[in-house]
Symmetry: C2
Subunit: 695 residues, 2 copies
């Protein structure tokens, strides 16, 4: 499977760490003897867990044998595999199968693919050490029938353009390389009929955008990446002439880099169904970074490996460990980036605006991408913000306690559908208390937002997008801008959202923020005796109301403290807008939800409307020195004017400076615009102009 | 002031860091010129802040002059002090004074004392460099009149046995040393009449317990420590024959060490009015550690200085920096300890039970101490727990956003009294929804709990205390035990609370915990449409009810996840006890409260009752490896029997082992006891026996 050969003896810290880790894993397994039970249980049950442990043990023992030359590892893997050779030919569909793609060892065949992909890597490492008889037994009673089952045995999975099919193709193809079976390899690469209509190559073309973005979002991108990169590495080793890492303009390498770009502090942006605690410290990414590094020798991958503290016990991992030990690591170049969605890049985009290349710099994430299938959230044109290392404007992520038995066995919980996926759980427009596409993801698949503009150089970084059809006869467009302003604690975020509807409706614009309220600019009505629930359905049933009030011009502000910094959200809502302060956690009898605050601007009976706001980091709360600076906003006023062909958003700072952002309706780069503000002419060309006084 | 002389040139990292920090501070002040405004504003106002900056500048400039020999520092301090010499003689009581102890420069004389203590240290360093005329001017128009005002000018403060008087005595006494004025020193040490009835030495005797515990609790101990140790250091330097650090059995050194012991991960236990974010990284403790180290050369202080990352720009700080750089640091010996309260040690105690000397080991804190004056909370026999580095059973601390202007100028907020001080905000018994001592701290001052037993060696660490009079005709006794059990993730905490009353009453026993609920053992009734408030007063008006239910024998459990560990609280409540799950944050229109969960066991119409519970850390939730182990409790059952003279608390583990704790009513060490459990005899001597089967 690998080009390199002979035992790998070097002892670089990261590599030695993996060797220890896998040795302990095999040791623990060996203490339990050989356990290859007849499949019985669904996910989480004991036979399920035992077969999972076994593939990891075969993988680890094989790799350890190659690294150490210790025959005891090869022997243990051999004995396990011989036991599978006895069991596997006797199996039919799994007794606990409840899906249309039952496995043999597991309740769903996806797990069988994973089993095969790991086990065949371990087998590859020991196969040459076996007697002819053992080799033939294992080849013919384990790997060949498994590969047959996972390919021709389940065309309904194998021929999908879907991540489950990628696992199957990767497992089958790698088995082909190990067994020297060209037929298996050909099927894996180009589908059962070898036409290229399905198969791995087609999946590379269809499942990633030209920018390496995976449609389900960063959390699933991380998971999806593994079969792609692991099989690609096997192709590279066996058929280098295919230049698989250059395939489709190097999209697999782009996908690895995109996964890293879509993180903050190492944690993946929790878009769509995603757990907030999922970081780059995960097996899939140890594999991806090692394989990416081996393919490119890009030294910025090494700093990611360093943060991960792990690599793989493979030649690629050895390379990472060696070069890291030799001090070759360079900082990963986090950057403002546009990640187009869809195979052709025309399915909207996720845009990331960053203050500098430091991963902890302020990071604005805007979700203008397509639905992303069944795990997608109804969050068109939503956004989130990280500042000073913390999530400040948040996305709930998924409602799930992975592997926690008492929480529905660790599956997605009911509140994932009833709350986390709904539009009101996001920082974007809700019309008439319903979710985008009426909460139908298959409808959402047909309509993507349009990314109209993206500019990320210099101190004024802007993303503009539009969506039409998230609600019937409603179109809305949003510009989010990240502005560097001298003398402020961090960049400002300006938000301009324009909605056009055809009949009167209720518009809600939520802002989910993290922190403790320190100031509210407008009078509030609270609920001293009992706390009402905001609504009946579409996520509203999960919101407790704390207070609400109708601001006047100039006082629509909310200030909170997060860590050592203050944030003021200053709105310019349409006249009559009520502001509701609420919190998630209502109608949650099983305590499945976290309780997180939200502010909702609510405008009733409106057709066209414009919501303008600015989010401002300010000041410092230092508990050690017991000092506080600038706990009040540094902005004195916010103004908005719509001219004939542009929106003008003007900020007055308390120090007397003014800053005006002019956003033309037209996103054309060359077009000249002219407007007037307070009697003074403003001229700019292109979508966005910025004006400061005094300059 | 200091024995050492001559410029200090060494450049050890910690010392060099302080030099840079103070140099920047003086530089920033110098850019603003000389600003000595006529006093006008209360705390937080601009003249207040300017005079605060000035004392720190004089202090820093003086110390920098001594370290660097750079005359510019001395000159800047001189010019500031000459400006004070013009201003000070013209001042009467501060115009914004609203207390019975107005200052001259500040609204309260406490701040004047702090000004004097810092400024005189800076002055000491430059005084020899001045012309005779300047020296006389500053001596006679600043320091001597200030010392006169703060002593004979305000006997109502100076003669108190109170921390405010300590600041005054320290400032006056240190001024005496600098001006070579024995009269000032004598007043400071022994009071205005020099009888010793008041003054610094008397304060040392009265304000600390024999174990170095300061009655207001750790947060105020940290603050109170500064004038004690700084003046003590000056006494040691000028009158070493007084052996001040050995005074009263070395209680000042005990007080420094106690402050460190009363922390977890560097953060002070938030007992009484205390901010949870207050750590040992604070000026008072930089001073205390440096001075303590100079007095003892105890190398375990050095590891604290290392964690602080700061020291002082004094000879003591230099010593710390040097010895730290030379690698002399030793781990601080965190330990299970009893801190008796009260000048004679008979005012109850704070007990700390720790699993080993590692500061991150499980730490059980039991508050059996006295009221602690006006900042004390009504929390007799309450407890808190840290485990795996996190607070798991919590104390709210204080409701205050220090220095945040929009939060009542940073003062204690109304909810500090209405919530944080009340008994229901603590993990202890509430009778009839009222607080201990009916919420009257002056009543609380007269009644302290009795610490009956404390044993912290070995695997069974126990604290037993009793209080009588927290409620009329009610007495309650509580034993909290920390048990090491082989094979469990961490020590178990067993809680046995027995209350005896004279007439039927409602007993509430709250447990404030931190984490996300993953399992509830008994059926709950929830509130889908609106969330009720639990009560009307004494803190109950701040609790929203989430759900309640009445458990049956064996199912009274609550499991939550905190960080990577699960916790199960398993109760054995008296029959008929209802369990309420609630959260703080009701009736809080200004969002002053954090929202934190609480479980309340509620027993109505009871006279005598026993509450038994065990808190069990278990399992591991690892988001990187995506593995979860032991998310369910390892305990199968909890039993309790009261025999003729003892309580038996028996645990059955799921692995079949049993563990019985026998707690005799009698705390006498030598006494023999005998009881029977399930027909088997148990014999032990002393207050506590422990029995395991199989052993
Ligand atoms: Zn979402
Ligand atoms: Zn408290």
């Amino acid at each position: 499977l690998f080009r390199s050969s002979g035992p790998i003896q070097a002892d670089y810290p990261l590599f030695a760490g993996e060797r220890r880790r896998l040795a302990e894993l095999v040791e623990a397994a060996r203490r339990g003897g050989i356990q290859v039970p007849v499949p019985r249980d669904p996910g989480g049950g004991s036979t399920h867990e035992q077969h999972k442990r076994n593939y990891m043990t075969i993988y680890a023992a094989g790799l350890l044998y190659r690294v150490t030359g210790d025959g005891a590892y090869a022997d243990y893997a051999r004995r396990l595999l011989l036991e599978y050779a006895r069991l596997y030919p006797t199996l039919g569909p799994h007794p606990a199968a409840s899906v249309d793609s039952p496995g043999r060892l597991f309740w769903q065949s996806l797990n069988d693919s994973v089993w095969l992909m790991y086990a065949v890597q371990g087998y590859d490492a020991i196969r040459d050490s076996l007697s002819d008889e053992d080799r033939r037994t294992i080849d013919e009673q384990v790997f060949r029938p498994m590969a047959a089952f996972l390919s021709e045995g389940q065309p309904q999975v194998f021929e999908l353009i879907h991540n489950h099919a990628t696992w199957a193709c990767a497992a089958v193809g790698m088995t082909g390389y190990v067994l020297r079976d060209d037929e298996l390899v050909a099927r894996a690469l180009n589908g059962l009929d070898k036409s290229g209509r399905t198969g791995f190559l087609r999946q590379i073309e269809q499942l990633f955008s030209p920018d390496g973005y995976y449609s389900e979002g960063p959390y699933y991108q991380r998971y999806a990446l593994e079969p792609f990169v692991v099989f690609a590495q096997a192709i590279e080793a066996n058929e280098p002439e295919r230049r698989i890492f250059a395939y489709r303009d190097g999209v697999l390498l782009k996908a690895i880099r995109a996964t890293v770009q879509l993180t903050q502090g190492g944690y993946l942006f929790p878009l769509n169904d995603a757990l907030r605690d999922k970081s780059l410290k995960t097996d899939e990414l140890y594999q991806a970074i090692a394989i990416g590094y081996a393919a490119t020798r890009d030294p910025t991958f090494l700093s990611i490996a360093q943060w991960q503290g792990h690599t793989t016990l493979t030649p690629e991992g050895l390379l990472v460990a060696r070069d890291l030990a030799e001090g070759k690591a360079q900082p990963f170049p986090f950057a403002s980036r546009l990640f187009r969605d869809g195979p052709a890049g025309d399915g909207g985009a996720v845009t990331v605006l960053r203050a500098g290349i430091d991963e902890h710099g302020q990071t604005l994430v805007v979700k203008n991408s397509a639905q992303g299938m069944g795990h997608g959230h109804f969050d068109k044109l939503g956004w989130m913000l990280y500042d000073d290392g913390a999530a400040v404007v948040t996305d709930y992520g998924a409602v799930r306690f992975l592997n926690v038995e008492s929480k529905d066995g660790g599956r997605y919980l009911g509140e994932n559908q009833s709350w986390a996926r709904q539009t009101v759980a996001h920082n974007t427009l809700v019309v008439n208390e319903t979710s985008h596409f009426d909460g139908q993801w298959k409808v959402g698949e047909r309509i993507a937002p349009r990314q109209l503009y993206f500019a990320a150089d210099g101190p004024t970084r802007v993303s503009t997008a539009e969506v039409e059809g998230a609600y019937p006869e409603v179109r809305f467009r949003r510009t989010l801008a990240q502005l560097e302003v001298d003398g402020l604690a961090g960049p400002l975020v300006v938000d301009l959202l324009r909605v056009q509807g055809s009949k009167p409706a209720q518009y809600d614009l939520p802002l989910h923020y993290a922190g403790h309220i320190t100031d509210v600019g407008f009078p509030l009505h609270s609920y001293p005796a009992e706390r009402p629930v905001l609504g009946k359905a579409n996520g509203y049933q999960h919101l407790w109301v704390d207070a609400s009030g109708t601001p006047e011009a100039g006082n629509a502000t909310l200030t909170w403290l997060n860590g050592e910094r203050f944030y003021t959200y200053r709105m310019l809502p349409p006249a009559g807008t009520r502001i509701i302060l609420a919190e998630s956690g209502a109608n949650d009898p099983r305590f499945n939800l976290r309780r997180e605050p939200v502010l909702i601007e609510r405008l009733e009976n409106a057709t066209d409307a414009t919501f303008v706001a600015v989010l401002e980091p300010h000041g410092c709360y230092d508990p050690a020195a017991e000092t506080v600076t600038d706990s009040r906003s540094r902005i004195a006023a916010l103004h908005h004017v719509h001219t004939a062909d542009a929106d003008l958003v003007a900020l007055e700072l308390v120090d007397g400076r003014t800053l005006t952002l002019a956003i033309a309706d037209d996103v054309d780069a060359g077009k000249a615009h002219r407007a007037e503000l307070d009697g003074k002419p403003l001229e700019w060309s292109g979508h966005v102009g910025r004006f400061e006084a005094p300059t």
